[in-house]
């Protein structure tokens, strides 16, 4: 008897399956990651236990994981927002850098000795810087159909070099003994930290943003418009919605969120511009957004999970002398498996016998 696999689309996906698939994807990615680490000469057991112990083992570890989850959540919301219009914002990394540069410029050139005013200025400027950086790519895309994946990505490299220009050049701290960094911010320009940890007030934004955008996308007219436009730009055009205007606007907001995330990272955590400022949050956030299936609230959860990986990778660098970017292997595998999982969400596989008829118990018996 001949057995073959038949793939057919699922009409609907059950809730249980919807929850099981991301979890299973994650577990299989980690299992596959273990195999890879083993072949690369790294003990997977030691690597994974180090990751878990460093990030979840004690209160400090958990606080560090939250510190990583803050920018991840914000930036993933930025990615998600652009993607509701089917626009890829791969340029969040650059927008984070631009936000940080703007915030540093604010502190340098228009310092006000009042925390509230100072933060208002920093917030607005970093939002504008990140927003404009993303809106450039958005405008090109909407107006002339320039591939936004490439432009946003190229703008990342431009932004990082721009950042380097300042820390190696005009803004370098003369007392830093030649290290490429700016002077430390005054306290007025630093976000409050809680409970003696490095968890800073950016946490509030990271928790608020997903809720705000969940409401905006679900319940407002504009949210509805951009969702329609993402699914069917032509129909939206007939309904009198301006595609160009909305793409630029959405990209501006998306970039502004990333820019503000850069500001939070700067004034909440590092306090100065220095080399290696953002450890690839812009890219990791893409995974967050996908793993959370573009759901704003899911993004908070997944950000925490990937925060675990990021804290772990920093510890691995110290304990096992692995390069910081080594955890990109796991991130890449997670994305691969999430894609694989999508397949099982959309299709089901049935074992078919003989001429392609449905395998019933009777048919199986006859075959024997």
């Amino acid at each position: 008897m001949r057995l073959s696999l038949k793939v057919e689309p699922r009409l609907e996906t059950s809730r249980l399956l919807g929850l099981m698939i991301p979890v299973l994807s994650l577990v299989s990615a980690l299992a596959m990651g273990a195999v890879f680490l083993h072949f690369m000469g790294v003990s997977p057991a030691k690597a994974y236990s180090t990751i878990v112990r460093a990030s979840l083992g004690d209160a400090y570890g958990i606080s560090e994981t939250i510190v990583k989850a803050i920018p991840l959540t914000m930036v993933a919301i930025a990615v998600m927002l652009a993607f509701t219009m089917l626009i890829w914002n791969i340029g969040c990394e650059g927008q984070i850098f631009m936000g940080a540069i703007a915030a540093a410029a604010a502190v340098r050139y228009c310092f006000v000795d009042n925390r509230l005013v100072m933060f208002a200025i920093m917030f607005v400027l970093s939002g504008i810087a990140g927003g404009v950086w993303a809106a450039i790519a958005g405008f090109f895309r909407a107006k002339w159909n320039v591939n936004e994946i490439i432009t946003t990505l190229m703008l990342n490299y431009v932004a990082i070099n721009f950042f380097n220009y300042f820390i190696y050049g005009p803004w370098r701290d003369p007392t830093s003994l030649g290290f490429p960094m700016t002077p430390l911010f005054p306290d007025t320009a630093r976000l409050t930290c809680y409970c003696g940890t490095r968890v800073h007030a950016g946490l509030i934004l990271a928790l608020l943003l997903p809720l705000v955008f969940w409401v905006v996308l679900r319940f407002t007219r504009w949210g509805y418009e951009i969702r329609v436009m993402g699914e069917n730009p032509k129909a939206a055009g007939f309904a009198g919605m301006s595609y160009v205007k909305n793409v630029v606007l959405v990209m501006f907001i998306s970039g502004a969120i990333a820019g503000v995330a850069g500001m939070c990272e700067l004034s909440g955590l590092q306090g100065r511009l220095q080399a290696g400022f953002s450890g690839g949050y812009g890219y990791t956030a893409i995974i967050v957004a996908w793993l959370a299936r573009l759901h704003p609230v899911g993004i908070i959860l997944v950000s925490f999970l990937l925060g675990v990986l990021l804290v772990g990778s920093e510890t691995l660098q110290i304990v096992m002398r692995l390069p910081v970017s080594s955890m990109l292997v796991l991130q890449g595998l997670i994305l691969f498996f999430v894609l694989g999982g999508e397949f099982f969400r959309k299709f089901r596989i049935r074992i078919v016998t003989g001429g392609g008829h449905r395998a019933s118990p009777e048919a199986l018996k006859e075959g024997e």
Binding site: W88, I286, G332
Partner: protein, 309 residues
Amino acid sequence: MEILVPILTAAVRSGTPILYATLGEIVTEKGGILNLGLEGIMLLGAYAGFAVSYSTGNPWLGVAGAFCVGMILGLVHSFICVTLKGNQVVSGLAMTMFGTGASSILGRDYVGVTIEGLHRFPIPLLSDIPVVGPAFFRHDALIYCSYGLVVFLCWFFTSTRQGLYLRATGDNPRAADAMGISVARTRYFYTMIGAGIVAVGGAHMSVAYTKMWAEHMTAGRGWIAVALVIFAIWHPARAAFGAYLFGGVEAFQLRLQAAGTTIPAPILMMLPYLMTIAVLLFISIRKGKGIIFGAPAALGLPFFREERD
């Protein structure tokens, strides 16, 4: 002319990795598969090329090793895009992350090591032609191979039956399927070959250009190649022109830095990336909205073959 020759020579040398990557992506995209993982594939190719050259002492084995690694990565990409019908953009991003991470773990023992690599091999007679000779014919053999590949692909796409099948698969998979071509098999095959060529571009960087391994050594060249495919409107000869143009910009900015210019290095280093955006903008404005001529019509779309009972 005297200043031009060294710049041209350097343009060809530093443009070759981008050229291989662009050609590989053209082969892949002609079949309708978009592979955005070039950066990761180039990095793993660069690592594999270096590691094999180092341990065997034979740079050509290194290049072959890189090609095989590229084929394997292409297999993964086509499994996700063809069999699982997954999102090609996301798969490409995953490939970039995976390749960047894996190459930095694998290459951690090779940092600071140098190899002999591929030697320069001036072609007799041809290398004596003024300007053209030093610019194009005083390089390593892998660069000469890239000239051959450009010519071969031009011929292959337009004048062979297999090339026609490939283009049909990328332009109209349903028609190709009706002709009896297996869309899935064609896409698998050319995605793997394409990724192999991309990896050879990475290997050129480590085995012939720098003769060493460094983390993230491709520094965005994979992404520049993705943009160049559009610039080249999927034509191999235009790809060569574009790649040398970028090589030239890179060589030019390095030369300016070496000459001790007052322009800060980070500003000069923005040039290739800004130029990529400018080139893309120029092409898109000139072509207007809509389908860019030469683009495979079914690029990036999974093919669903209707099941027949």
